[in-house]
Amino acid sequence: MVLISLVRDYIGRMLQDIPGMKVLILDSQTVSIVSVAYSQSELLKKEVFLVELVDSMSKETMSHLKAVYFLRPSNENIQKLRRQLANPRFGEYHLFFSNILKITQIQVLADSDEQEVVHQIQEFFADFCAIDPFHFTLNIPMHHIYMLPTVVDPPSSQSFCDRAVDGIAGVFLALKRRPVIRYQRTSDIAKRIAQETAKLMYEQESGLFDFRRTEFSPLLLVIDRRDDPVTPLLNQWTYQAMVHELIGIEDNKVDLRNIGKVSKDQQEVVLSSEQDNFFKANMYENFGDLGMNIKTMVDEFQQVAKSNQNIQTIDDMAKFVDNYPEYRKMQGNVSKHVTMVTEMSRIVDERKLMTVSQTEQELACNGGQAAAFEAVTNLLNNEAISDVDRLRLVMLYALRYEKESPVQLMQLFNKLASCSAKYKPGLVQFLLKQAGVDRRTGDLYGNRDLLNIARNMARGLKGVENVYTQHQPLLFQTMESIIKGRLREVDYPFIGNHFQQGRPQDVVIFIVGGTTYEEARTVALHNASNSGTRFILGGTAVLNSRRFLRDLEEAQAISRKSNAI
């Protein structure tokens, strides 16, 4: 509830002290921020009867309404506000910004407010999209820029970093804490973001961040996606992660319009753990258990439906009318989940994902280079496997067996080039350049130090419960190290002269390059086990394999262009 309730509190406070009919004006980013935390019906309860975008060029004057603006403090927004203040459409203007305003921006606004319609300007630091209680994202566009060195496109890099710093600052201002900052040594962009955040929190706005100091300072850890490129490439089998991987979740909404034939009212659905109890209970369950639970739910619903059809007395009728709203809600919920699972089953069958995923998990978790090579070759030869799955397999193989037997690796590249028309092997090499074994800090495959090797062997001997969900993201090991206070300073140094005494109780992990729902699941399951340390995960976006590959492609295209120049 942590992140979502923070955003809800902010929005509630914005609206509660302003009586009368209101209109809420948002920009394209704050729309996401508000939509995941607040529903339309809740806004109506607060007497907000219209929601508009700040870009909307409507000229209608409605002076009986009070305008509440909630915008990011960007220069474009300030310019748009200027124009609107010069010709006010509403009776009163209450401006709220999601992050720190510059003095010049305040002056510009004061200058254009000739009619003195602005009643208040406040900074409410809800600058992050709280999709789950312990998971936030920033939805940064032009995402691939983090893979390229700064010199390629300095202004884009700068705006990327600025947005990341703003988002992190927003989280800590909302939590009212000031953290100790650590970053991943091998990543330049992580270092840059960490340093700029430290400058903001400790030098530029130290007054704003000067909160009551607790015994254990919280920890902010900034790491790079490329340290664990395996997790976004894998196919997922737990509900929330699977939906995102196969179909795609955007701000807790799923768009089913392009996927097969669905009924009209199920074309776009909401998957939110706050509003949907079934989803909350099942979002981290694997596909098999999920199927069973859905069947139970459908059976229950059929019982209720049957009893509803059996109306004989006035009493029954009255009871039916009484329970009708709940019945309708239940019906909507059941059909939503059934549609979702049906679609996913269809896609799994179509793309033969069971076989593909088995090999993927083997590549990610277990050893055996020869067997792996054989499996991948077989699947590449298999006509039924789609191009993107073939590419993923080769990538996973390359990431693992980069150094062993380069000849066989070349064979795979050639095979991939011949089979798939769309994808070029250059992409795999680009991935290796970005995230190869030389660039990684963490022990992705558990084969670097003796302890990890032993652990892996023990696991292999014990066998796994479910071969499809045996992968554990690298994040899990990082989290364990933090809990035990054993995060190596060589790999993850502190910023400046920060120092952490003891073990932190609150940790925010920020992954530059995006998080995945599998990692969010790891975090949520850990938090549920009440171990004393609470983790919050955030990133610049939420990845699935499609997005990650797209980032790689775009970064590759740009780096080719800049190399040519």
């Binding site: 509190d9 009586p19 939509s35 529903s39 219209l50 209608e60 409605m62 305040i106 406040q122 939590l175």
Partner: protein
């Protein structure tokens, strides 16, 4: 969660800038005010808050000659549209209904308690209250429907949202009332059976059991028993009538609920998402834009075929459509002002203008939002006799 208030700093800048600006404004006295504030003479009533439920606020008359007012051309605050009054009325009605419902609950309690009297006043009170509440709810529902049926204008979104919010409240109220009524019904029935059972006991205890002495029944009933029986029957009839009434009101309310359920948003569905609702507005606007392009391209195609005659214009005005749209009139409709001077001379018309040819017919394009990038529009065919 921390926030920071920048209002004091903002006010400081605003005041500082105002003192820089005012000397410039005051040097242009009535001449500018006449031009800039045209049509805004006279006292202006400003509605500070339109809520009838906040009696503390009042209507404050605001004079335009107020010298302390920083800007001479003060914004004309227009009265809110009529449907706002309707929505206020509905809220007030619902408040009354709520109050009456708590009275009804008390009356139910009183009636269910065993009493010496006939209880007829209690029942009458309950009847009256129930009838009043149902009437209030029905009236509110009718008014709610009226909100949407008034002339469509730009604030249709707001009206729809106000309707939704009121419909949700109304539905909750109806459900509450029905629950209370069915509870009352249930307890009434229990009482009735209890009473009958009690009577049965009395019969069994006090006198010979009727089952075994059937043949003695005719002679058996004493005077006391007869009157008792009659009283019970009358009592039963009364209760039956009450139950029937309650059932009837239950059905009425069910009807209201059915009508309202169309308006109410289902929580947790896509319709309840703010970004979805914003997108819907944007997509309909976009569709209008696409249609407009189609029309204009058609106009362009006829550029060489039709000469300028009888004031009909061709492609040049189509370009002008995109760039020069006039300010909205009082109805919020923007009429296109053609800047082609030749045409103005030939037709002699000032306000209306033919925007182009569409399938050979003259047409007027109305613009509701007049800006170069986004418009909605409607095509309106006028008969040719209007054009001389």
């Amino acid at each position: 969660m921390s926030t920071r208030n920048r209002t004091p700093l903002y006010r400081k800048y605003r005041d500082a800038l105002r003192s820089v600006r005012v000397p410039v404004a005051s040097s242009l006295p009535s001449s500018s005010s006449a031009a800039s504030s045209g049509g805004r003479a006279g006292p202006v009533i400003e509605m500070v808050s339109t809520s009838l439920l906040h009696p503390a606020r009042s209507y404050a008359p605001l004079s335009t000659e107020d010298p302390s007012n920083s800007s001479p051309a003060h914004l004309t605050v227009s009265l809110p549209p009529a449907w706002v009054d309707l929505s206020e009325e509905i809220s007030v009605n619902m408040q009354h209904a709520r109050k009456k419902m708590s009275d009804l609950v008390k009356a139910h309690e009183k009636d269910l308690m065993p009493s010496f009297g006939d209880g007829k006043e209690d029942q009458h009170a309950i009847e009256v209250l129930t009838h009043d509440i149902t009437y209030l709810l029905k009236k509110s529902e009718k008014q709610l429907m009226k909100i949407s049926s008034s002339a469509p204008s730009g604030d249709s979104n707001i009206r729809k949202n106000v309707q939704r919010s009121l419909a949700t409240d109304l539905q909750n109220l109806s459900m509450e009332l029905r629950k209370k009524q069915s509870l009352y019904l249930k307890r009434l029935r229990e009482q009735k059976e209890g009473q009958d059972g009690f009577d049965l006991n009395m019969n069994m205890n006090g006198n010979r059991p009727t089952m075994e002495d059937d043949e003695f029944d005719d002679i058996g009933f004493s005077e006391h028993q007869m009157s008792q029986l009659e009283k019970n029957e009358a009592f039963t009839r009364e209760r039956e009538r009450e139950i029937a009434q309650v059932v009837e009101s239950v059905n009425e309310l069910a009807q209201i609920m059915k009508d309202l359920s169309v308006l109410v948003i289902d929580q947790g569905t896509i319709i309840d998402r703010i970004d979805h609702n914003i997108q819907n507005v944007a997509s309909s606007v976009e569709k209008g834009y696409k249609e407009l392009h189609k029309v204009l391209s058609l106009c362009l195609r006829r550029k060489n075929t039709k000469k300028r005659r009888n004031g009909y214009v061709c492609d040049s005005s189509c370009h002008n459509v995109l760039h020069y749209a006039g300010p909205p009139n009082t109805k919020g409709i923007t009429l296109l002002i053609n800047t082609n001077t030749n045409w103005n001379k030939s037709s002699g018309r000032g306000r209306y203008s033919v925007a182009g040819l569409f399938r050979g017919n003259p047409c007027i394009l109305f613009f509701f939002n007049d800006l170069p990038c986004v418009f909605t529009y409607s095509l309106y065919f006028i008969p040719s006799f209007l054009w001389n």
